[in-house]
Amino acid sequence: NAGVTQTPKFRILKIGQSMTLQCTQDMNHNYMYWYRQDPGMGLKLIYYSVGAGITDKGEVPNGYNVSRSTTEDFPLRLELAAPSQTSVYFCASRGQNQPQHFGDGTRLSIL
């Protein structure tokens, strides 16, 4: 049981490049979340999904997109990378009446 798996673990992008952060979970959880963590700021919710085919914006969605074609996968897309998107990104999933389980994060630098 791997839990929540995020790839890649580290990435350096140039301004204007695009990339997809992958997140997959093997717990059959309906709820999935993307957060970004910046020093001293806690976690900010980017997007979330309550089930396959359903996504919704969180607190800081600008510059990002998501899709949820399957229960297992919830990729996060950056179309035009900007320095302000340098952060650590965490994916989480949750079953009904359960706490969120987090992946180990993707550390993204945009130069």
Binding site: V4, Y33, L43, V50, D56, A92, H101, F102, G105
Partner: protein, 116 residues
Amino acid sequence: AQSVAQPEDQVNVAEGNPLTVKCTYSVSGNPYLFWYVQYPNRGLQFLLKYITGDNLVKGSYGFEAEFNKSQTSFHLKKPSALVSDSALYFCAVRDPYRSNDYKLSFGAGTTVTVRA
């Protein structure tokens, strides 16, 4: 709107001493409250939660938290801290009476350092 405040950026204690990490919350109704811990280069790990019932909640690794409705607080405590408890701690809140969006709001985090 729901929100959480962790008033201390850092807490430093000696090993064997009691540890307290403070959290206050703001929601429109009765809250669901959570504590998570984060070790370096890892994701957040769930410690404990308060949903309803007994105000004193026991969780993983000997941690407990006390829900105080009148003070809108949910402080994390451990009677005897270990060096291995050194980590970043997050408090989180959810308002269950909002629409079914199931979102948590996290505090900014408190760095705990336990010295040997």
